[in-house]
Amino acid sequence: MAHLEFEKPLVELEQRIRDLKSVSDEMGDLDAGIADQIRELEARADRIQRELYEELSVWHKVQLSRHPDRPYFLDYLDAVFEDFVELHGDRAYADDAALVAGFARFDGRTVAVIGHQKGRSTKEKVKRNFGMAHPEGYRKACRVMELAERFGRPVLTFIDTPGAYPGLGAEERGQSEAIGHSLLVMSRLGVPIIATVIGEGGSGGALALGVANRVLMLQYSTYSVITPEGCASILWRDGARGPDAAEQLKLLAGHAKNNGIVDELVSEPTGGAHRDPADAAERLAEALRRHLAELDAMTPEQRIEQRYAKFRAMGPFVDAAG
């Protein structure tokens, strides 16, 4: 288990509890002193956990959204969906492993599932390009969304990316056009679309999977116009001031809800999804099920109209001309 600096007291306490338990197991569990000690430590762990997560700073929450043990798209896919058939490639250039797409069953019915995928091991991280998709990734997503439309299957997307990849090949092959095109395709689908930000909702690369009838965010996920580090590097020419930029960007799930860009926050187990992935997946499934049922009741025209009106209303301004 990897852990963040602020999680350390809790993780250490839990380790001590585990150690004591194994000692008590070896001794045949009859030592009342050890049992008392374990109970006391468990109570303390509980208290620390609650206190710790009640007063997390913005930056702590940003770190949680990027936690190395946080469940990724494929973890939720395993936990919530069945019979997943992955579809590869954009039929034009390549297959992009940073963005996974295909069809699967959710409560027995077929849905298209599309999401960014990060890697956990070094090898896997490189293969997945840290969840930063190239144009061919977004073009694959569009291809699968259009397939879903043809066969009348809802589209569920899962957003978890620092951003679309900024590199030579990405520019040569039209990263801008690929993202713009994805926004266009999503805005016109008649089937239900639900997007969930499960980790990092980084900029245009995130929004490219985010034009949905319902936008959900997990409690410790973020949605931002730019990474805090990128913002700091532009504003202060110092990427190390990410924590300062994070304060300004209002990128937490709660901010997104207040600003009207997401419909629902899906709460996570205490301490974050990584502390109980099965529970996190169950909470996500419940929210998806509920929203999907609402969208099922609408006609394709109503869904297109609702999606348009929803994004049409985003962004405050005043009219000085009256």
Binding site: G174, I179, G180, L207, V225, I234, L249, G315, F317, A320
Partner: protein, 278 residues
């Protein structure tokens, strides 16, 4: 309506004054010429053809029939939804840009005619916070597409923007979805959208409607891309090749339809609209 001719401004950094300020030196070829020669040549260096920035007002004058421009939504003003403060508060930045440009935000939008044909025209003001797209710019572009749809007119939009406006956070990001959705409706109605890519067009503006023109026309040497060159260099840790992300590079890689010299821009747009609509 030529109210804007007096406010024609070129970028100070590109303007080198000698003595009384009647001469300008081209930073690209080094030629020193009378300032009027640059202006008469639409801010294109008469020596080497380098395109300097033309003000939004001058673009409107260049593209539209005289007196046909009617501006819309000029009163839309940004709020400060995040209370954003970096080295300066966002509200102060807005105020400074309003003072500098005489406009409320980074886009002018309106009706006009081009060779007698009614069109909807939008032009970015790069001098207003780097032409960044926040809620006001997003709203004005959305209304531009919607007016095109309502009035059954083509839309011509000249972009020059660093991308989404950081100071409005994710609300700026959402303008990408909002503008593209409106463009989709224009498309469905069979109305053309001519996207003109000026220097520079990057970030959230490039990655939304700007490269989705029915025709994408770029100015020579305009920088057009998703990520800024500095970000890419930091990511890949090497110098970028000469000409990377310039209009010619995009033409070569199939991302823009044409590059048009500023003198040819009006005629190019007019010919395309005629091909689509006459």
């Amino acid at each position: 309506m030529a109210w804007f001719t007096k406010t024609k401004v070129s970028e100070p950094s590109q303007k080198k004054t000698l003595g009384e300020g009647v001469f300008r030196r081209c930073d690209t070829c080094g030629a020193t010429l009378k300032a009027e020669e640059f202006e008469a040549n639409l801010e294109v260096c008469p020596g080497c053809g380098h395109h300097y920035r033309l003000s939004a007002e001058a673009w409107i004058e260049l593209l539209l029939d005289p007196g046909s421009w009617v501006e819309h939504d000029a009163g839309l003003q940004a709020t400060d939804p995040l209370g954003f403060v970096d080295s300066k508060p966002y509200r102060q930045r807005l105020e400074a840009s309003r003072k500098k440009t005489g406009h409320q935000d980074a886009l002018l939008a309106g009706d006009g005619t081009l060779n007698g044909r009614p069109i909807q025209l939008g032009v970015f003001l790069f001098r207003f916070m780097g032409g960044s797209m926040g809620s006001v710019v997003g709203e004005k572009i959305t209304r531009l597409f919607e007016r095109g749809l309502e009035k059954n007119q083509p839309v011509v939009l000249l972009s020059a923007s660093g991308g989404a406006r950081m100071q409005e956070g994710a609300l700026s990001l959402m303008q990408m979805a909002k503008t593209v959705a409106a463009l989709g409706r224009l498309r469905d109605a069979g109305l053309p959208f001519i996207s003109v890519l000026l220097h520079p067009t990057t970030g959230g503006v490039a990655a939304s409607y700007a490269l989705l023109g029915d025709v994408n026309i770029a100015e020579p040497r305009a920088l057009i891309g998703f990520a800024g060159p500095r970000v890419i260099e930091q990511t890949i840790r090497q110098k970028l090749p000469e000409g990377f992300q310039r209009a010619e590079f995009l033409l070569e890689h199939g991302m823009v339809d044409r590059i048009a010299h500023r003198h040819e821009m009006r005629a190019t747009i007019a010919r395309l609209l005629s091909h689509f609509l006459d």
